[in-house]
Amino acid sequence: MRKLDVRGAKCPMPIVKAKKEIDQMQPGELLEVTATDPGSVPDFKGWALTSKTAVLKEQRTEKEGATEIYIHVLERK
């Protein structure tokens, strides 16, 4: 699985970077995006709804000390 760390990046950068990565991937390949922006949760959902290239496979929240980390797993269509 490819990994993309966008911790600290604010909207729109998490999706801008994820889209760049997805565009270079092969169909079926997975991408795990690690973000700290809470807005990334609904936004990745919204983007995946209409995206021709990305499918949202999983979203989860993890704690890293006091910081919440949002993990988005995408699959290249």
């Binding site: 909207c11 889209k19 209409t50």
Partner: protein, 366 residues
Amino acid sequence: MSTATEIDVKELLAKIDSGRRPTLLDVRNDDEFGNWKIEGRAGFEIIHVPYFDFIEDEQAAIERVPAHEVVVVCAKGGSSEMVADILRGAGIPARNLIGGMIAYGEYLEPLKVPRPRDEEGDFEIWQFNRRGKGCLSYAILSEGDAIVVDPSRAIDVYASFLEQSGVRKVHVLDTHVHADHVSGSRSLAERLGADHTSMKGGESIRVGKILFQAIATPGHTPNSFCFLAAGRYLLSGDTLFTKSVGRPDLGGQVVEWSLDLFDTLKDRLGTLSDSTLVLPAHYSDMTEIDPNDVVAARLGQLRHDLPEFKVHDPNRFSEMMLQAVRTPPPEYARIIDVNLGNSTIDADLMVQWELGKNACAASAQH
């Protein structure tokens, strides 16, 4: 400051209010757009295309935007800046709203409450309108003294206003512990080296030429107050609004609190004259702003118009309040805790907690 590529909240709202009908392009996600959007005193066009649609398929998204001047809005101003850039590249004159919905939610406008020419006393009442949230706060000035009531956390606005007004002595206080927004009263008092005052029912203090009296008005909360200035201006907090009364359901004791509210409306405020001008801490929509640009109503008018004044049986009143129970403001328990001084929060979180309009009235359907 606005430029060819950016516009600030003040200029945007002035544009909308004066009927110049700008086109707004809101690029937030569906939920954010559905829950809370920019409102104005005149109509304007608002289009919704999420910013991630521009990332997914730029050309298709551009085609959904009209080819004339647009103002692009997002939550914080980052995504809208990107979209405005893309649009300008496609020949559409687009400007980014600086600071996005957060700046809109914090924007404060001081407006002078008009007083009759023949009224006695040398004093001014200013209503600070926080339009994005529908929150109202006040500054009363008289002979170098001032009292600030229910300030929001954008304390710079009050501080510079008071400085420009040449005020020497300031009191700061709240009508009650707010549940929908973080109060600026403690930090403003600290900044100004002023008194963070609390008053008991029946107490009064002198502000320059005028008397400022506290009336205990339990109901919305057990420790809610209304303040009567110069015997004629009632800063009614969340007890009484121009189209409703303060919801008594936020403490989980809606029956008890609504009985308190019943007594408040009938007895505790019952001795005030019909000509008293009610100046509330909230409003729900733009139609409540009067032609003088302020939100205010005569007490007599409210006694005549509001169904809450027409119920004469306390149990019937509390049934009415029970029917009006609705979802509490988001994060209200944590906001209350901060406003009580029991906890502190960082600036980013504070902004998150406060998103959206107030929901403090007992009825939203007016």
